[in-house]
Every structure is written in structure tokens, then in C-alpha cells.
């Protein structure tokens, strides 16, 4: 699969688009973890997830891309926004969003980034995959989910049900334990 990988220069069109989307995703992710306004963090998270969905589209995984928009952007971040509003977040800047160990955190994150990037660059420098559309359409994905991966799928549905029940039990105040 990596017989004759073309050189890194010049980048192809999809690569340029992917890199731009990657920069957007990384930039908005940085803003998520550094912004001083809670609601803005959620909005930057939306931008980040949207850029990642675009990246999936470039990587020909279109079903995953739309599911990403549908579930992450449409449900998960809305839930997070609900959480922000229900915990009475102040509008505007709040000073105490970062804990005292942010320099240690930055150090750890930089170390992680350095290790991961050097490892993956040395590991996959020559890996090349030509993109041909149609790999991630609904049909092949659906048939492999419901044939090969049907057992994990069923296990996940049970997990989701358990999470649903658990969330309801946790958030309702009128459910008492057994007397």
C-alpha cells in the first residue's frame, strides 16, 4: 500500500484542504482550552468539530462526517451548553476557569505532543493512501456494522440504555432509594 508514495511537495488539493481544516480544528481546540468565557468555549468546540467533520469528508468518510455533525455538533455540544446554562455560568469573562497547575499542565501537554508527533512522524512518514470516494458511504458501512460488528453494536445499545436510565436517575431529585 505504500509502494511509491509521492513526495510531500507539492501537496495535492485534498491535502491542502485537509491541512487548512486541521489548522482550523487545532486553533479552535486551543481556544476551547484557553478562552475565558464558558459559552465561547462551547462555540469554539462546535467550530472544532465542524472542521473535523470537514476533514472526514476529505478522507472520504462521509457517513462518519455527517454523523459527527449530527451527534457531536447537534447533540453533545447542545447538552454541554445546557450544562453551562444550568450551572449558572456568568456571561462574560470569568477569572477562575484555570486551576493553579496550568503551567504543569502545559508542560505535560507539550511533552505528550512532542513524543506523539515524533513517534507518528517517524512511524508513518512514508504511509500514503490514495483517496477514492465511496469508501465511507452508508451502504458498505451499514453492511459491515450489521454483519461483522453486530455484537459490539448490540452491546453498545445496552450501554446507551443503561446510560439513559442512569442519567435520568442521577438528575431527578424525586427518586429516592428503596425504603
Amino acid at each position: 500500500m505504500t509502494l511509491q508514495a509521492p513526495g510531500f511537495w507539492p501537496p495535492t488539493g485534498p491535502e491542502i484542504v485537509f491541512l487548512l481544516l486541521g489548522v482550523v480544528a487545532l486553533g479552535s481546540a486551543l481556544l476551547v482550552v484557553t478562552t475565558r468565557q464558558l459559552v465561547h468555549a462551547a462555540l469554539w468546540l462546535v467550530v472544532c468539530f465542524g472542521a473535523l467533520a470537514g476533514g472526514y469528508l476529505v478522507l472520504t468518510a462521509e457517513f462518519v462526517a455527517w454523523v459527527q455533525v449530527l451527534i457531536y455538533v447537534g447533540a453533545v455540544v447542545v447538552l454541554l451548553l445546557f450544562g453551562i446554562m444550568l450551572t449558572r455560568a456568568p456571561i462574560g469573562r470569568s477569572a477562575d476557569l484555570d486551576s493553579g497547575n496550568r503551567w504543569a499542565a502545559a508542560l505535560v501537554a507539550l511533552a505528550t505532543a512532542a513524543v506523539l508527533v515524533t513517534v507518528v512522524v517517524s512511524g508513518f512518514r512514508t504511509a500514503y493512501a490514495p483517496l477514492d470516494p465511496g469508501q465511507g458511504a452508508a451502504k458498505p458501512l451499514g453492511s459491515s456494522i450489521f454483519r461483522t460488528w453486530v455484537l459490539p453494536f448490540e452491546a453498545l445499545s445496552v450501554l446507551l440504555l443503561a446510560a439513559l436510565v442512569g442519567a435520568i436517575v442521577l438528575s431527578r431529585t424525586d427518586i429516592q432509594g428503596r425504603k
Binding site: 462555540l43 455527517w66 445546557f82 462574560g92 452508508a138
Partner: protein, 450 residues
Amino acid sequence: MNNPGPTLSDFGHDPLWISIIKAVAIFVFLMLGVLFGVWTERKLISRMQHRYGPNRAGKFGLLQSVADGLKMGLKEDLMPRTVDKVIYFLAPVVIAVPAFLAFSVIPFGPMVWMFGHKTPLQLTDLPVAVLLVLATASIGVYGIVLAGWGSRSPYAILGGLRSSAQVVSYEIAMGLSFVAVFLKAGTLSTSEIVAKQAGGGTWDIFGMHIPTPSWYVFSLIPSFLIYAVTMLGETNRVPFDLPEGEGELVGGFHTEYSSSLKFAMFMLAEYVNVFTVSAMAITLFLGGWRAPWPISLWDGANTGWWPMLWFFAKLALAFAFFVWVRASLPRVRYDQLMAFGWKVLIPLNLGWILLAATLQALRLPESNRNGILAFGAVVVIAGLGIWLRFDTVNQRRREARAAEVEEEFEQLREEPAAGGFPVPPLDLPHYHGVVPSARAPKEEVTSGSN
């Protein structure tokens, strides 16, 4: 008559300028549709309520919406002092743009000749086009949440929270009601779903071949009914227009958006969303651009530009349905709304999907029918068993509670202060201190006399 229309392979060959023409045409169509949709709604609802409706601006008041739009454009654009300015400004844009985007995958007609090019009457299509519509709808929620949050007003934030909870929950039911269509059509692409509704099968019973109707509204009627309810919830229309419940929340999430162009954007988004969900109903259940039955007997009905006419007629009828519902039904209470969505629509939908999938599996030629039927019977019996088990428990609990209350009541009747409270005798008439006949006759207060 059996012109199945474009499939996925017909897309992506248009020159750029044809795509631009189509995009502009859709935009213009939606803008004009909103202008005249508002007029139609006001006119129709006034006739249903025995009044005239707008009749001053232009013939039949046709220009009323134009005048309103101009007025909104000329009004002072207020920016409340304490709002989160970026979010306050962004919210109307976020709500309006996805509403327009969803229309790019709606098929308006079959292949036509447009300036020497053969092209489908649809901007674009994807193998997962219906997901795109759902995704744009879920992005539209942000407009509501952000408008509510950015306004810094209790009414707005309550309205925004309510509305987004409502839209998110009804979106689940809506997505589930599409599942049966996907099962039946075997594709998520809008143009192919329309193509699959071209010809119905036949129903072989006792050696007779009865042609079945091809539109999914007939074969998947439960899905369609659920979708019809969820599309009211999804677009925040009556009877689910709680976010704008004037009696309790002033204007809901757009309370702080006075009648400027920003408010016009919310209005625009609401109507475009109505058009989008109607167009989805038409595409998925009502045969898309295909001519309805008596007309479809004519050979040319599904060729050329004619189908656009059928599509618009169906869209107008769907819009009239919205108006009809608005004129007929009162607003539901918020807990009723959520209970209906989660406890009625979603379970019903899941049950129906199971049934539809079973029927679909039975129809496959290579299927093991006895196995499927046996499995289905086991599932049904198990479900019934679980229901009976929990229902008897509920019944017993309810009876115990009733007996307890009755006992307490008996005790209280004998001894009013038995519960520890000084209570009046329970059979005392309720005067509340004022004998009705002794009240002074009230003077009539006419409205406007203040």
C-alpha cells in the same frame, strides 16, 4: 409514466454556472416563498377565523409582507447594552443559514434540458443526503440557544432552553421516522428515494395481482403520521410553539430582538424551516415531484418541467396543513409536549420500526420465514409478558395508594384534627368569606377604557 428520474450518478456533472443558476433559483424561490407564505398564512387563518386578514397593501393585501419587510429594514437596529455582542449578532445568522442549506438536496424534478445541458432539477445529491438535512436542522438549534443566551434576559434564556430541548427531542423522533423509509428504499439519497416511489409493487393474494400505491405515505403510514407531528415540533409551530408562548415568555428566545432586520432573520428562518420539513415530507413520503394519481395517468406528467408544478402544489398543500393546524389547535403545556415526544412518539416509532423491519425481512427472497416469524412471536410474547408484569405491579401499587387515601379520609371525616391540622369540616360549602349574592354588582368595564 415510469420515468424513474435521476439517480446519484447523474449528479456532479453540471458546469459551475448551472449550479450557480440552481442555487440562486432556490434562494429566490425561498425568499419569495417566505414573502407570500406569510401572506398566505395570514389570509388563510383569517378566513378560518371569519375575518378578512390583510387587505390594504396591494391587491388582496398581497404586498403586506413586502411592506412589513421594508418596515423592519428601516427600523432602528437596537443593540441592548449588556448583551454578549458577538453571540447576539451571530444568532440570527446561525439560525437562517442552515435553513437555506437543507434545500440543496431537495429534488424539484427529473432531468431537464437547461441551456443545452441535461441536468437534474436538484442542486446536489449525496449518498447520505437525508442525514445532511437532519444535520442542518441540528445546527439551527444553535441559533435558538445562542439567541437565548446572548440576550441576557430571563425570558429569552428560558425560551431558548425550552425551545432547544424541544427541537433536540423532536429531532430524535423525526430521525426515527425516517428509518422505515430508509429500510424500504434501501438508500439515503433523496433523488433515489423519489425514484423508488415511482412504481408500486403488486400485492399477490389468492392469485390476484392488486397494484399497491407506490408512495410511502400509504405503505409507511405510521412513520408519516409521526413525522407530521414531529415536523410541527421541529419548527416550533403551533401547537408546539412554546418558545414563543406569549402568555408566559413574552417572545421567548427572540424577546430582545426588536423588530429589526435581525428579527426578520428569525422570521425568515422559521418559514424556511417550515418549507424544508414540508419538502422532506413530500420527498420521503408523498412521492417527491411525481404527479398524483389521476394526473399520473397522463404520459407526460413526470417528464420535463411539469413535475416542478406538482412539487409546488404539494408544498402549498403542506404549508396549508401547517396553517390549518395553527388555526385549530391550542398550545400544549411544556411537560405534555416533552412527555408526548419521549413517552409516546419515540416508543411508538421504535415499535413500528421493528414491525417494518420484520415485514421487510419476510419479503426478502432468501429469508428464513419460519425463523423470523418464530423470533417475532417470541419478542411479542416477551414484550407482552414484561408489560403484564409491570402493569400488575402498577395496578397493585395504585390500589394500595387509593386504599391508603381512602382510609385516611375516613379517619379524617370522623376526627377533623386527626392529621394534626386544624381543618374545617370537609362538607363545608366554600364561601371564602364572601357570600356570592352579597357581592356588589360590578360595573361593566369596556375594553380600552382603562
